[in-house]
Amino acid sequence: MNVSSNAMTAIKKFSLAAFSLLMVLFSASDADAQCRTFTKKRCLPQLEDYVQNDNYNTAVLIPGDEAELELTFFGDRAYRLLVCGHPVLGDLTFQVLDSRGNGIYDSTDKESNHFDFRVANTQQMTVRVQVPSSDAVIEHEGCVSIMVGSKG
């Protein structure tokens, strides 16, 4: 009777743990949906009065990853470039490069996650984002969204 009771308790615990893990895994398969929610709730409001570009530039990244966005910015318009990542990934850094690959802006050592600017002449630029490396035993992945809003 005692053995049976212990076995049942063990199996219940095992099942609960396994079920929890399954939930995490099913959540993983739904990562894009989570990113959409995350971006909508936490990133979009940071564009404030800038009209968002409706491109969905969001990905699930891990420490050490990079992301790049290539886009044309139009002359005489004001832009907000927002790099919005889940806090679990740490402080993301980003650079803006001109069409020749020369650096125009670097967020390193700046506290803001966005860059407000105007362009005098229409030009293609590249936004390069880095997720800092981590030496954690268990790494986490998180959503990173590169958002562009314009006005004026």
Partner: protein, 308 residues
């Protein structure tokens, strides 16, 4: 022991059901540690539910995005360039019923998004709601009809006189659509819709070249750069018959842009007096009117190919 299993998970496949989590357990490495509890626990639980989880891969990689101007952004440029609203240039809404294939629905969703944005920016209020309804019809066909539901249409209708509200509704809606296409693995639809929107924006911008302002002509010439972005976007998706066809027709527009010269120059960021950062320099764009005429003819041809 067998009876214990049976009590917990009655049925013949109980052991299989218990083995399944075990399989996942050993195939996915170490399970996450629990949070430390206390005051930080509640926010952590919330974050777990939206936007983070234990990493499913170890090797870092580079994610590259290609973005094109949204139809609203293009319509704003057209308006600022002095273009006049031309209702005749829009794709008639009654043609939407005839778009029955995924390819036709996706490209024309982009084309109608262009018309919708153009109508919104030029304060064509009833037309804006009509085009939103037309987009809804195509979304239904593509299996994402819930994005443009009756509530959204009602919200647009109630705000038909407030341009900023309509702009917000349109950008939010197409952002949601792009996100859903990504979630559902519908890259082909996403790429075709983006291409349709780009084509329609250029089509609308080139309907009356003879009376166009110099600013509008420059904007049209500058689309050589956004075409480059668009081709990069189309190329970034797994090739399908429809995407390959789209790439081919866009290549014909690219050929028409051969006589527009973009000369690269170094760009630099400087602070203006009001503190705004201004990126000066960058490319200069040279073109002749004949080149723009060629572009107009080229884009009209492919727009009418898809919108017929």
């Amino acid at each position: 022991m067998r009876r214990v299993y049976d009590r917990i998970l009655p049925g013949r496949n109980a052991s299989v059901l218990l083995a399944l989590p075990l399989l996942f357990l050993f195939s996915c490495g170490e399970a996450p540690t629990s949070s430390s509890g206390g005051a930080d626990e509640a926010p952590q639980v919330e974050m777990d539910a939206e936007g983070m989880m234990p990493a499913r891969r170890q090797k870092a990689f580079k994610q590259i995005f290609h973005a094109v101007p949204s139809p609203i952004e293009t319509a704003l440029l057209l308006e600022r360039s002095g273009i006049r609203f031309d209702a005749e240039a829009l794709n008639p809404i009654d043609k939407a019923m005839g778009y029955t294939t995924t390819e036709a629905q996706a490209v024309n969703l982009g084309i109608y998004a262009g018309d919708l944005s153009y109508s919104v920016i030029f304060n064509q209020n009833q037309q804006s709601v009509d085009y939103l309804n037309t987009c809804r019809r195509l979304c239904d066909g593509l299996g994402v009809g819930d994005i443009i539901d009756a509530d959204l249409i009602a919200r647009a209708d109630n705000n038909r006189d407030v341009r900023d509200s309509l702009v917000h509704i349109v950008t939010e809606t197409f952002y949601e659509l792009n996100a859903r296409f990504r979630e559902n693995g519908m890259e082909e639809v996403s790429g075709l819709m983006a291409a349709g929107g780009w084509i329609e924006g250029l089509y609308l911008g080139t309907r009356n070249l003879s009376s166009s302002t110099e600013d509008l002509k420059l904007r049209i010439a500058e689309q050589k750069m956004t075409l480059d972005n668009l081709l990069g976007l189309v190329d970034s998706y797994p090739p399908t018959e429809a995407l390959t066809k789209m790439k081919q027709v866009l290549t014909s527009v690219e050929a028409a842009y051969a006589n527009v010269t973009v000369t690269e120059n170094e760009a630099a960021a400087t602070a203006a007096e009001d503190g705004t950062v201004v990126i000066s320099g960058g490319p200069s764009v040279q073109y002749e009117d004949a080149a723009l005429e060629e572009i107009a003819a080229s884009v009209a041809k492919i727009r009418n190919l898809y919108a017929q």
